[in-house]
């Protein structure tokens, strides 16, 4: 890992940045040089933001999304429907669904999808927390809103199996072809599901 104590601060920053997804040595160097060339205020503000994120953000005790105050804004909103929970893979998926304005229930974030080939099993996701939550509060419906990929489908099926004995209604978001998407570029799951979920043209 990074020798944080005694290496040159410039090299140390570059080394830290390269650990972020999608950032290689070249980009990390460019970002570092940009920070060095700019206002010192910016560098300090950036450092403060990172510190605050590390110190203040935690997982919501209800839905497991990232939040500063616990429970999070959505979980503490009394106007939302308690009887329906939408299960998503990542916190940013909540934003995507919220933007539609179509859903007024609660959420639960798994923080990932099952992927045994990458060593990600059920115990690495917030599935246990979800089941505990369902046992504590009566729920009518769970919407499985994971992506229509192999991993997303597997995760949805796995959770659906666990929910069966609880007698909760389980639904899956309909998956269609992305608008403007070309059939041949999509994987078999997307096309397969799009066919399963087809509707009559009127």
């Amino acid at each position: 890992m990074i020798d944080a104590m005694d290496s040159d601060p410039i090299q140390r920053l570059i080394a830290h940045l390269t650990q972020l997804p999608g950032i290689g040595e070249k980009t990390a160097t460019r970002l570092t040089m940009h920070i060095l060339a700019g206002q010192k205020e910016f560098a300090r503000a950036l450092a403060k933001s990172l510190e605050d994120v590390a110190d203040q953000v935690r997982l919501c005790s209800q839905c497991c999304t990232f939040t500063v105050r616990d429970p999070c804004v959505i979980c503490s909103d009394d106007n939302r429907d308690d009887s329906i929970i939408c299960l998503v893979a990542r916190p940013q998926d909540i934003d995507a669904i919220e933007r539609t304005g179509q859903f007024h229930g609660r959420y639960h974030v798994l923080h990932g999808l099952l992927s045994p080939l990458d060593g990600i099993g059920p115990e690495d996701l917030k599935i246990g927390e979800f089941l505990t939550r369902l046992r504590q509060t009566p729920i009518k419906e769970v919407i499985l809103a994971t992506s229509p990929s192999i991993e997303g489908e597997a995760t949805a099926m796995y959770v659906a199996n666990l929910l069966k004995p609880l007698g909760v209604e389980v639904t899956r978001i309909a998956a269609g072809m992305p608008i403007g998407g070309e059939l041949e570029y999509s994987d078999s799951m997307t096309v397969g599901r799009a066919l399963q979920d087809r509707r009559a043209m009127r």
């Binding site: 045994p116 597997a154 796995y158 078999s188």
Partner: protein
């Protein structure tokens, strides 16, 4: 075709004719490497090695192959360049982001010495033969196979980790793809059947009846109904669970299926003579060629080293067949004498020249050369 840094060819530019092209030269001069380049351009894989580094000329960092593809529907330039860690493909000068659309541009059929292993070799050779043929008609077949393999690996990892619930989930995912893959393979086998039988008789001049049978590892009913095959997969899986857990992998699926050749009703695998096995392999190549000939465009047939596998009579008969094919043929041969129309190239020390450009003395010695087969 332009090759740079490819195998034994630091630089080579050659113009092929639309009909028969024969590459001759002593062994080890790169004849097969040239066919391999055409094959690579079409399939982005080699039939000789899986190690990319071996494809690059010793001392070079990068290899590239470009080919001007002329078809009835229009012409385009395909090129691929590779170094040890990356590969770039372009089509008509544009980066090809979708391999699916790239694959359709150039199709080749290969007849190489180890092709006779189609009969008697391991089942994977026959499955590949089927999948290759399906793929040409239904390009998304490659996606089905890729996704199925991912699910299969996921299920096997779950079995090893003793997570039965997770294994069950992947088993259910696999069922629908297994149904589609086998349905497509069986449909193809049914389509091939009749043509195969009559072509085999033509090739061999015998009245033996060759038939094809697809052997599915879980669904004995000879159906092409994808839903039925997938449903049968789903029913069989729980019955195999104990065995699968014990072994730590899935014991049924398209990855265990086989294509069986029968001669007069008897399985060719254990019973066929060498000659019969070779005739079946020859027939399969001709059938594959025929299958890929769509709308007036024929695939390029690559024939590597006929003499090592076929006796004189079969070679003649095969060459007669090749002459009758529409479409381009590229063939290597240790013999330079050809009594057929075509263009002849000499492959020597990393260069390729049309025969006519050779000095006369060399040509004279060339005609009488006898060379050991590789």
């Amino acid at each position: 075709m332009v090759l740079t840094g490819w195998r034994r060819f630091p630089e080579a530019t050659i113009e092929l004719t639309a009909g028969l092209n024969v590459f001759h030269g002593a062994n080890g001069q790169g004849k097969t490497n040239f066919l391999e380049a055409v094959y690579y351009l079409a399939n982005l894989s080699s039939f000789r090695t899986r190690r990319r580094g071996e494809l690059i000329t010793w001392g070079r960092r990068e290899a590239s192959i470009s080919g001007w593809i002329v078809a009835d529907t229009g012409s385009t330039v395909l090129s691929v360049s590779l170094d040890r860690s990356s590969r770039t493909v372009t089509r008509g000068g544009m980066n090809s982001s979708s391999l699916l659309s790239y694959y359709g541009c150039l199709s080749v059929v290969l007849f190489a010495p180890n092709q006779v292993r189609l009969v008697g070799g391991p089942p994977i050779i026959r499955r590949r033969f089927l999948d290759r043929a399906v793929l040409r008609r239904l390009p998304d077949h490659v996606v089905l196979l890729r996704d199925y393999n991912k699910m299969l690996k996921s299920r096997n990892v779950s079995l090893k980790g003793k997570d039965v619930d997770l294994a069950e989930v992947y088993g259910r995912q696999m069922a629908s793809l297994a149904g589609r893959i086998v349905g497509r393979r069986r449909t193809l086998v049914n389509q091939l059947g009749e043509g195969f039988e009559s072509l085999y008789r033509d090739v061999t001049g015998t009245d033996e009846r060759v038939s094809l049978r697809y052997r599915c590892s879980w669904c004995p009913q000879d159906t092409v109904d994808e839903g039925e095959i997938g449903g049968s997969f789903l029913e069989t899986l729980p019955r195999r669970l104990d065995l699968d857990r014990q072994r730590g992998y899935t014991t049924i699926g398209p990855q265990f299926d086989d294509l069986e050749f029968l001669i007069d009703g008897r399985p060719a695998g254990p019973y066929a003579s060498q000659g019969q096995a070779r005739s079946i392999a020859m027939t399969a190549v001709l059938v594959e060629h025929d299958l890929l000939s769509v709308r007036g465009n024929s695939p390029v047939l690559l024939v590597d080293d006929l003499s090592s596998e076929l006796d004189e009579r079969r070679r003649r008969s095969f060459l007669d067949r090749l002459s009758g094919l529409s479409g381009q043929v590229l063939m290597t041969s240790t013999e330079s004498v050809m009594d057929r129309d075509g263009r002849i190239f000499l492959v020597e020390g990393g260069s390729i020249h049309p025969e006519a450009e050779r000095p006369v003395t060399e040509q004279l010695s060339g005609t009488s050369e006898t060379v050991q087969v590789e």
